[in-house]
Amino acid sequence: MFDLSPDEWTAVLLSLRVATVATAFALPFGIAIGWLLARTNFWGKTLLDGLVYLPLVLPPVVTGYLLLISFGRKGPIGAFLDQNFGIVFSFRWTGAALSCGVMGFPLMVRPIRLALEAIDRRIEDAAATLGAGRFLVFLTITLPLALPGVIAGAVMCFARALGEFGATITFVSNIPGETQTISAAIYTLMQIPGGDAAAGRLVLVAIVLALAALIASEWFARRAGMRFQGE
C-alpha cells in the first residue's frame, strides 16, 4: 500500500512498538491514578492532580530534560534501575517508550477518571451485599462499567505516543533503528536535500495510523456501551 523503504518501515514499526509498550505499561498506572483521583481524598491530592497533567502543559523539551536527568544512566532512578534490574532507558527504544508513556499519561488518566466518577456507587454497594469484597467489586463491577473510559484513555495515550517528538528526541536522541520514530524520521528527512518525498510518505503513514486509532477507539467504545443497552 505504501511504497516505503526498509529504513522507513523500521521507523514505522518502531513507532508502533514504542506506542504499544508505552500504552500497555501506562495503563495499570493510569487506572490506579484515575481511581485515586476519582474516589479518594488525601493530603496532596491537588499536587498529584497537577503532576499528572504537567506533561500536557510543560514544553516537551522540558519533560525530556527531566527524564534525562532522572532516568538517564547517571540519573538517580536510571542508575538504580540499571544496577539492580539491568533496565536501561538512555538512548534505547525503551527510553522512547518511557517518554511517550509519560507524555500520553495525562490524556489517559482524564477519561478513566471521568468514567470512574460517573459510576453509580450504589451499584457497588449492591455487589458488596452479594458477597464481593472491595477488590472483587472493582474487578467485576467498577472496571467493566468504566471500560469505555479506559479504552478511550488507552487510545488517546497510544495516539499521543505515536506522534511524540520533543520529549523523546531530547531524552533518547534520534538513532535510526533504536529511537528514531516516525516523527523523528520525518524531521530528519526534512533536513536532507531531496528528502521531501520520503517525508511525505511517512506523513501519510502518520495520518493513516492516527485515523485508524481514532476509528478503533470509537468502535470499541460503542461496543462497550452497547452492552448496557442490551442486544
Binding site: D120, R122, I123, D125, A126, A127, A128, T129, L130, G131, A132, G133, L136, V137, T140, I141, P144, L145, R227, F228, Q229, G230, E231
Partner: protein, 230 residues
C-alpha cells in the same frame, strides 16, 4: 426465637436515629412515614452504613458492636438486600446477575436451586436479557432472585414496590407472599404502605422520627398509611 437484634444510634446531620428492636423469623415489617430512618436502619443491618453506637446481631453472630470494635464488612454478612431501585448490574445479563452471589462465594453451580428460584419468581424467560430491557416489575423480581440465590441468612427488602405503578405492585406482591411461605428466609420488609404490609408481614416494628415507637403484631398497621399518620 430471636433472629435479629438491633440496637443502634447514629447522628445523620440534624437527624438523630436511635432504634432498638428484635425480630423473630417470618417477615418483620419496618413501618413508618417517609424520613423516619427506615432505610438507614436497613443499611446498618447490611453493613453499608456504620452506626455511631450500639450493636447488631444475627443468629447469635455479632455483626457490629461499637464497644467491642466489631464490624463485619457487608460482603461477609450474607444478608440479601433488595433495593428500592433494583440496582441490577447493567453490564451483565439477567442470568449473570442472578449468578453473581454464587460466583463471588465460589460455590459450585446448583442448577436445581437456580431453576427453583427462577420458577418461584417467574423469571426463567428473561435470563438472556439485559436489565435495561426489563419492566419495573421484572427488574424487582430479578433483584429478589439475585438476593435469594446468594443463600442469605436474612433478606432485607427496602420499599421493593415503591418504584412500581399500581398494576405492577399487584403483579409482584403475590411473589413476596410465596417467598415468605416457601423460601424460609427471615425477612425485614421496609414500607410506609400499610396495605402492602398487611398482605405480607408477620410482625411489625413502627419507626417514627428515628425511634421505634411500637413493636408487635399486625394491629400496629393502622387503617391509614404511615405518611398520613405523620
Amino acid at each position: 426465637m430471636i433472629v435479629l437484634a438491633v440496637d443502634v444510634e447514629k447522628q445523620l446531620g440534624a437527624f438523630k436515629l436511635a432504634a432498638r428492636f428484635e425480630a423473630a423469623g417470618g417477615v418483620t415489617a419496618l413501618f413508618g412515614p417517609s424520613g423516619a430512618g427506615k432505610t438507614s436502619v436497613v443499611n446498618m443491618i447490611a453493613g453499608l452504613l456504620t452506626p455511631d453506637r450500639g450493636s447488631i446481631a444475627l443468629d447469635d453472630k455479632v455483626l457490629f458492636d461499637a464497644a467491642a470494635g466489631i464490624k463485619v464488612p457487608p460482603h461477609r454478612r450474607r444478608i440479601g438486600y433488595v433495593f428500592q431501585d433494583g440496582r441490577l448490574f447493567p453490564h451483565l445479563s439477567v442470568r449473570q446477575n442472578l449468578d453473581y452471589g454464587r460466583r463471588m462465594s465460589g460455590r459450585p453451580r446448583d442448577p436445581d436451586e437456580f431453576e427453583r428460584i427462577a420458577a418461584l419468581l417467574d423469571i426463567g424467560q428473561l435470563l438472556d436479557r439485559r436489565p435495561r430491557l426489563l419492566s419495573g416489575g421484572e427488574r424487582q423480581r430479578v433483584a429478589v432472585g439475585r438476593a435469594l440465590l446468594m443463600r442469605p441468612r436474612l433478606l432485607l427488602l427496602d420499599e421493593p414496590l415503591a418504584s412500581l405503578d399500581a398494576g405492577h405492585k399487584r403483579e409482584i406482591l403475590p411473589y413476596f407472599v410465596r417467598l415468605r411461605d416457601d423460601a424460609g428466609v427471615p425477612m425485614v420488609y421496609v414500607s410506609h404502605m400499610a396495605g402492602e404490609l398487611r398482605r405480607i408481614a408477620t410482625n411489625v416494628v413502627r419507626l417514627d422520627a428515628g425511634r421505634v415507637v411500637a413493636a408487635g403484631g399486625l394491629e400496629l398497621l393502622d387503617e391509614t398509611d404511615a405518611d398520613a399518620l405523620g
